[in-house]
């Protein structure tokens, strides 16, 4: 018999037949719900889908923002989502950490279906997010921003949390700003702190929602450099961006969204050399030249 899935502790026998080991400690939703199995990807009995959107529809009032989005992100993959404004890119990533719940369809994170009930707990242990507007906590200094979640949510001792914070501040190159308050920092510095804050949760997934769109052109590069550095690690990254050079450099896969659907999907080479859809050609033509 193969080893149980490292993520959901379920043993896969052959493709869709599974044996469910009732280990007392396993609290995952996949338990006893073989129907979910067909939607997730397994390799050698191990679930490799880190994030999976299955037939996701999302309405804001009468507007259908996402129309049947199907998307799978594998562990360690760097996925870049591009597309015009209002195409549903942000909503798509926000569905991945429960900031939006789909009107219909399913979202799986780390092999578990994300629901209204479990989203806080599931998100805490699996993903963190970097926002366009940084959203640092203005009443706390940089160190406070970085240690809040490790101390309050993960029960780390203050000393341990601060060591962790300094480690990630070094990664983003802001060790000297540990005691500064967010409002005294430049936009680029704030965003790097936000990235460090996301790293401090030590989650497998980091979602980036247009991380450089609120920055002036000169500071964009300092944030992108940090993200390129992260891309060499095993973290699963989903990045919504308009920075095509960056997308080409770090992406394993690029998807193009328009009007709430995924129009085209492929490797960066495919995308930037010869995309199929006219809409994609038109968009890239405008943004690249």
């Amino acid at each position: 018999m193969r080893d149980p899935c490292v993520l959901c502790r379920v043993v896969l026998l052959t493709n869709n037949f599974l044996q469910i080991p009732y280990i007392g400690t396993c609290r995952l939703v996949l338990h006893g719900r073989p129907q979910y199995f067909q939607t997730l990807t397994f390799q050698d009995g191990v679930c490799v889908s880190m994030i999976k959107l299955s037939h996701v529809h999302k309405f804001f009032g009468p507007n259908e923002v996402l129309k049947d989005v199907n998307l799978e992100v594998k562990e360690g993959e760097k996925l870049v989502i591009i597309g015009p404004s209002g195409s549903g890119k942000s909503t798509t990533v926000r569905c991945m950490n429960g900031l939006e719940l789909p009107t219909s369809g399913q979202v799986f994170v780390n092999g578990v279906e994300l629901t209204r009930k479990n989203r806080t707990e599931l998100v805490r242990s699996t993903s963190s997010m970097v926002f366009q507007q940084f959203n640092l906590y203005p009443h706390l200094n940089v160190l406070g921003n970085l240690t809040l979640a490790p101390i309050k949510l993960f029960g780390k001792a203050r000393k341990e949390a601060e060591e962790l914070a300094y480690h990630y501040l070094e990664v983003v190159g802001l060790t000297d700003k540990a005691m500064a308050y967010p409002t005294t920092l430049s936009g680029g510095q704030q965003q790097r702190v936000a990235i460090a804050r996301a790293l401090c949760s030590q989650t497998k997934i980091i979602l980036f929602d247009e991380p450089t769109s609120a920055l002036d052109p000169e500071t964009v590069q300092e944030v992108l450099n940090v993200m390129v550095k992260l891309a060499s690690e095993s973290i699963t990254m989903v990045i919504v961006t308009h920075e095509m050079g960056f997308a080409r450099e770090v992406a394993d896969r690029v998807i193009f969204m328009d009007y709430g659907t995924i129009l085209e999907e492929g490797t960066p080479e495919h995308f930037f050399v010869n995309p199929i859809h006219d809409r994609v050609k038109q968009f890239l033509g405008k943004i690249l030249y």
Binding site: N97, Q133, N135, L207
Partner: protein
């Protein structure tokens, strides 16, 4: 009354009984502190509740605020005093005063807290949710600490009003400063001037420093607001306070 204020004789008579007034002043002070504690607890609780996404919780908070804000405090005090014994609560006038004033101002403070919470940019709650903070944790560690600074000036205003409104106890017969003053003045020799003047001064020295401090703090917030105009987040958060 003017002659009485100028008459040494009436002052002598009044000051001979200063202990009565000191004791009543102590009662007013105690009632103010306890009612304030109650009002703060209720205010934060219902204020947070009225920003909840759950319509039932929001409805309960709205009901509390609207009922208490749109009926007179005097009526509420009478209702507490006269109705509570019927449902088995035998409590003294002073306690009734604490509950009535505390619950009444709790409604106002709930509104202050609600406005404060809603002035915090939504991105803060989203950042907290993206890190996996629960609703209560988000309020406790992220939203309320930011709210405190903003709501302090209107909160001080409520505290001053609360201190003055403790005088409602006089109407239901509790011996607070107001009642003692009235009682003392209207019995015996009927000396009105000195006691009412001193009563006013005593309320004033409780309220004035508070109100002044609140106003100075608000000015400080406004000044800092000017300094940080190039920082949109700070401006948005503090602008709503002024």
């Amino acid at each position: 009354m003017i002659e009485q204020i100028l008459s040494l004789q009436s002052w002598m008579t009044f000051l001979a009984d200063w202990k009565l007034f000191a004791q009543a002043f102590g009662v007013t002070l105690m009632v103010s502190v306890l009612a304030l504690l109650l009002a703060l607890i209720l205010g934060v609780f219902f204020g947070v509740m009225s920003t909840s996404s759950n319509p039932v919780l929001r409805g309960i908070a709205r009901g509390y605020v609207e009922t208490l804000q749109n009926t007179p405090l005097v009526l509420q005090a009478y209702v507490f005093y006269l109705a509570l014994p019927y449902i088995g609560f035998m409590i003294g006038q002073i306690s009734v005063g604490i509950y009535a004033v505390g619950i009444y101002h709790g409604a106002y403070i709930a509104e202050v807290v609600r406005a404060g919470i809603q002035s915090i940019p939504h991105g803060q709650a989203e950042a907290a949710a993206s890190q996996g903070f629960t609703y209560v944790q988000t309020m406790r560690w992220i939203i309320l600490p930011q709210t405190v600074k903003i709501i302090l000036p209107p909160l001080i205003n409520q505290m001053v009003n609360l201190i003055k409104n403790t005088s409602v106890i006089a109407l239901i017969g509790g011996t607070d400063l107001m009642n003692r003053t009235n009682d003392w003045a209207t019995t015996g020799e009927c000396i009105y001037g000195p006691p009412f003047l001193v009563c006013g001064i005593l309320y004033f020295i409780l309220c004035f420093p508070l109100a002044t401090w609140g106003r100075n703090y608000e000015e400080k917030l406004k000044r800092r607001d000017v300094h940080t105009t190039d920082k949109p987040a700070a401006k948005e958060a503090e602008g709503s306070a002024s």
